[in-house]
């Protein structure tokens, strides 16, 4: 099954390749714009997607994901599978074969040593490798011969396509990075800025957090590609002006992740210089319900911990009513336009893992009111519901972001309508997502009743994602408030499902489990209230051909196929 989809993916990729292909470097310069600027080209030390994506123009993994999320070989000579013996029967190892004759951009051959070195580089305990999760469970990486590498896992790994797969775990050249292991990793500035790679381009000039100039790699494996002789990446600014630079002024050919408001999307539509492309991945904007009591009256250290259940939100009916009052379609309309769609799922994709849960999509104000009545919350004199002398009041926090503030305002309106008093709070993203245990405003500490943010998972396998909601992963003072189970959801049945998932091999069965867990978190308990499945919206000029938006891997995954339309 895997092989089949991989092949289909490869065919699909080929289908996009334009016929009128001339030869390498004939189409001049292509200009790419990122609203966040690139800080480093080495994905292993990177802080963000933009670095990984631009880095993917130079550094490549053994295999990548295509626009459908299927794995396809890049440096590997075919995909390993159980059928072809590449993956061990018990899923404890995977053997990769490199394509023959691959060269680094400096002309030296790519060998198994480089692959082994890459693993060593990222798994070094002092290196602070940002992609260490991709190498989790890897017990050893051995060279079999010059072109063959065997990756062994300590326990059976049913999704062995983590290490060396995807833009987040590319292969580094051993010769260049040999002295950059462990603590020395960040000191190799030259290597981190201008890595020698196998990708279609190589760095000629790197300006931190500003511009990257690249030129076609003379040793790229396809002699006809890339069509462009040079590629420049510029960073900084905001999404709206990025979109404008492509669609209206035509200064740039491609702008990544131009999340702009729908009004502006509509306004720029008629722009004759470019158009937008969108694709949907797994990023879901959601409201998290705090299952614990964030009251400031509690002692520091007990606030928002499992010791004190939330006095209001512990009642499922309240959570459900809050969800019912929301009109997700309208949120999409005002916030994301074609770059969003309403969802009720935590795992909205890939298709096999997505639950068919759609009952939240219709707003039901009356139903919500009835549910609150049923829960014993009656409308008081001031229009705010109360129960036992306690007001139904929510502190609703999120990070600073115009769309999120609009969402806050609109949702506050709906919640006011059903008799819920809402106080809004917006926090600087650096503080909110910073995880500083000293700050009361981090999303992990969750000193609020409900909070909103977006999250997704890396690649196509949601297993680590759904496994976040076990009891023990709740942020708490003892763990310096680190932990991924933000709403402190705790259900032994769920923990059991997680354990079962880790033992399950068959894709269909895994999918079933994941859907079940998704439903447990969403429609069964309303612990997580998904709002919008956020896609990627990028813009490219009308003269840039070969663009295929990919949300599963680097957005620039097929830059080697880009060409200038004549």
């Amino acid at each position: 099954m895997k092989l089949k989809s991989a092949l289909l993916g490869a065919v699909a990729t080929l289908a996009f390749a334009p016929a009128a292909f001339a030869e390498r470097g004939t189409d001049g310069n292509v200009k790419v714009l990122y609203s966040q600027a690139v800080s480093i080209m080495n994905a292993y030390l990177s802080n963000g997607t933009k670095d990984v994506e631009v880095g993917s123009l130079v550094l490549e993994p053994l295999a990548g994901f295509d626009n459908e999320g299927t794995v396809f070989p890049r440096l590997a000579d075919g995909l390993p599978s159980v059928e072809n013996g590449g993956i061990a029967e018990d899923y404890t190892s995977i053997t990769w074969k490199l394509k023959a004759g691959l060269l680094w951009s400096d002309g030296s051959p790519v060998t198994a040593d480089d692959v082994v070195f890459t693993a060593e580089y990222c798994m070094h305990p002092e290196g602070g490798c940002a992609q260490a999760a991709r190498y989790e469970g890897v017990s050893s990486v051995e060279k079999i011969d010059d072109l063959t590498v065997k990756v062994s896992f300590s326990t059976p790994k049913y999704n062995p396509f983590t290490a060396f797969v995807g833009a987040t775990s590319p292969i580094l050249q051993k010769a260049q990075f040999a002295n950059c292991l462990g603590a020395a990793a960040p000191t190799c500035t030259e290597a981190n800025f201008k890595p020698i790679g196998t990708g279609p381009f190589m760095v000629t000039d790197f300006k931190v957090n500003d511009t990257v100039e690249l030129a076609a790699n003379p040793n790229y494996r396809d002699p006809a590609k890339p069509a462009f002789a040079t590629l420049s990446v510029k960073g900084g600014g905001d999404a709206a002006s990025a979109a404008r630079a492509v669609m209206e002024t035509g200064e740039f050919d491609y702008a990544c992740n131009t999340q702009i408001n729908p009004e502006l999307q509509a306004q720029m539509k008629p722009g004759c210089k470019g158009h937008s492309v969108s694709g949907f991945g797994t990023l879901v904007e959601r409201i998290e319900m705090n299952m614990t009591d964030p009251s400031a009256d509690l002692a520091e250290g007990e606030r928002s911990t499992a010791k004190h259940p939330h006095p209001i939100l512990s009642d499922m009916r309240v959570r459900k009513a809050l969800s019912m009052a929301i009109d997700r379609a309208l949120l999409v309309e005002i916030g994301y336009g074609e770059a969003g769609r309403p969802t009720c799922n935590l795992v909205p994709a890939p298709i096999i893992y997505a639950s068919d849960n759609t009952d939240c999509l219709t707003q039901d104000i009356e139903g919500a009111k009835a549910l609150l009545e049923e829960a014993g919350w009656t409308v008081g004199a001031d229009g705010i519901r109360e129960k036992d002398g306690k007001k139904l009041k929510m502190l609703y926090q999120t990070s600073v972001n115009p769309v999120r503030q609009d969402f806050q305002a609109v949702i506050k309106g709906w919640w006011n309508e059903i008799g819920v008093d809402v106080e809004l709070k917006s926090i600087d993203a650096g503080v909110y997502f910073g995880g500083d245990p000293g700050s009361p405003d981090t999303f992990q500490k969750f000193y609020a009743d409900v909070e909103m943010y977006a999250n997704n998972f890396d690649g196509t396998d949601p297993e680590p994602y759904v496994a976040q909601y076990t009891c023990e992963k709740a942020p708490k003072p003892e763990s310096q408030w680190q932990g991924e189970n933000i709403n402190r959801f705790c259900d032994p049945a769920y923990d059991a499902l997680v354990a079962e998932l880790l033992q399950t091999r068959e894709t269909e069965k895994r999918a079933e489990l994941i859907k079940k867990m998704n439903d447990m978190l969403t429609k069964d308990t309303y612990t997580i209230v998904p709002l919008v499945d956020r896609g990627r919206l990028s813009a490219h000029s009308n003269t840039l051909g070969g663009v295929v938006l990919n949300v599963w891997d680097s957005e620039l995954w097929n830059a080697s196929d880009w060409y200038r339309m004549k």
Binding site: A240, Q267, I365, Q408, A409, V410, E417
Partner: protein
């Protein structure tokens, strides 16, 4: 001694007002500023729409978004269908209050420190080094730290809105006094050498009254400039603070925030930026003219002309 001879000298303030009245710009500024105050503080009593009201009916809301000015909403509506007129009024209350109070704090601190440094030689070094320190401090982390340390105690003491207001005006005030202090100090250094200061000393005027009577009135002109410029930057800084999540709750309108929000829609709905932009500019302009008139009126050399 006749009665005429014993006539009391006219009050100086009467003179000041008489001169102020002859300054057309200043009078106009006073009128405009008065109208703005009336607009934001009395306006909401007449135009009683809730500035944060969003129609909960999705279909209605969609229809009511981004409306051009009409009878229902004279200034139009924003991207969520909120009434712009009501938002402008509510926002103006905060912006004008923040602008005036933060500017006063900053001018007070700047003048105090500038006069102290210029007048007392011993304080000059330490105070000017402190000014350097404040000029060098990165504003954003400073504000973040202030918010971290003081938001909760202030909110507890003065309520969430009062606490935030105090926090914001103090934050803006204590981070913007440096230029005024430098300018005032320079003026004081020069003034101190003037003979009338020596004369006052020979009379036995103590330092405090020396400063109040002889130094301050003579540095009023640069202070006025700093004050007018200070109002504009306070209003804008407030919007930046709110925008960074350091200020008022996100659904709380202020002119600066309205301008910031509207900038995104400038192409489609230019009125969204015009209203707050005009309001801020009018405030600053009117205050500037009032300041101009006041400076002239306070200067007897001009008054005599």
């Amino acid at each position: 001694m006749t009665d005429v001879a014993m006539e009391k000298p006219r009050s100086q303030w009467a003179d000041v007002w008489a001169q102020f009245k002859t300054h057309k710009g200043a009078l106009l500024g006073l009128v405009v500023f008065g109208l703005l105050i009336a607009f934001v503080f009395i306006g909401p009593l007449i135009w009683t729409k809730d500035p944060t009201y969003i129609n909960p009916n999705a279909a209605e809301m969609i229809k009511g978004r981004n409306k051009p000015p009409s009878l229902v909403s004279p200034l139009g509506t924003d991207q969520l269908g909120r009434d712009m007129l009501a938002r402008m009024m509510k926002g103006g209350q905060v912006s004008i209050a923040v602008g005036l109070v933060a500017m006063s704090i900053s001018i007070f601190l700047g003048t105090l420190i500038g006069v102290m440094a210029g007048y007392f030689k011993r304080l000059d070094g330490p105070l000017m080094r402190m000014t350097d320190l404040f000029l060098a401090l990165p504003l954003l982390p400073l504000l973040l730290v202030m918010v971290l340390l003081f938001r909760d105690p202030l909110s507890a003491a003065f309520g969430p809105e009062g606490g935030t207001f105090l926090l914001i005006v103090t934050a803006i005030g204590v981070t913007s006094w440096m230029q005024a202090a430098r300018v005032v100090r320079g003026e004081v250094l020069a003034l101190k050498e003037r003979e009338f200061v020596l004369a006052a000393r020979s009379i036995g005027t103590p330092s405090r009254r020396m400063i109040l009577r002889h130094i301050l009135p003579n540095v009023v002109s640069p202070i006025m400039v700093a004050a007018t410029l200070g109002i504009a930057s306070a209003i804008i800084t407030e919007s930046a603070l709110s925008f960074l999540g350091l200020g008022f709750p996100p659904d709380f309108p202020t002119w600066g925030r309205l301008l910031f929000d509207g900038a995104e829609y400038i192409q489609q709905y230019p009125q969204r930026v015009i209203w707050p932009g005009v309001a801020i500019s009018l405030t600053v302009l009117s205050v500037n003219y009032i300041g101009d008139g006041l400076r002239d009126a306070l200067d007897p050399r001009i008054r005599g002309r």
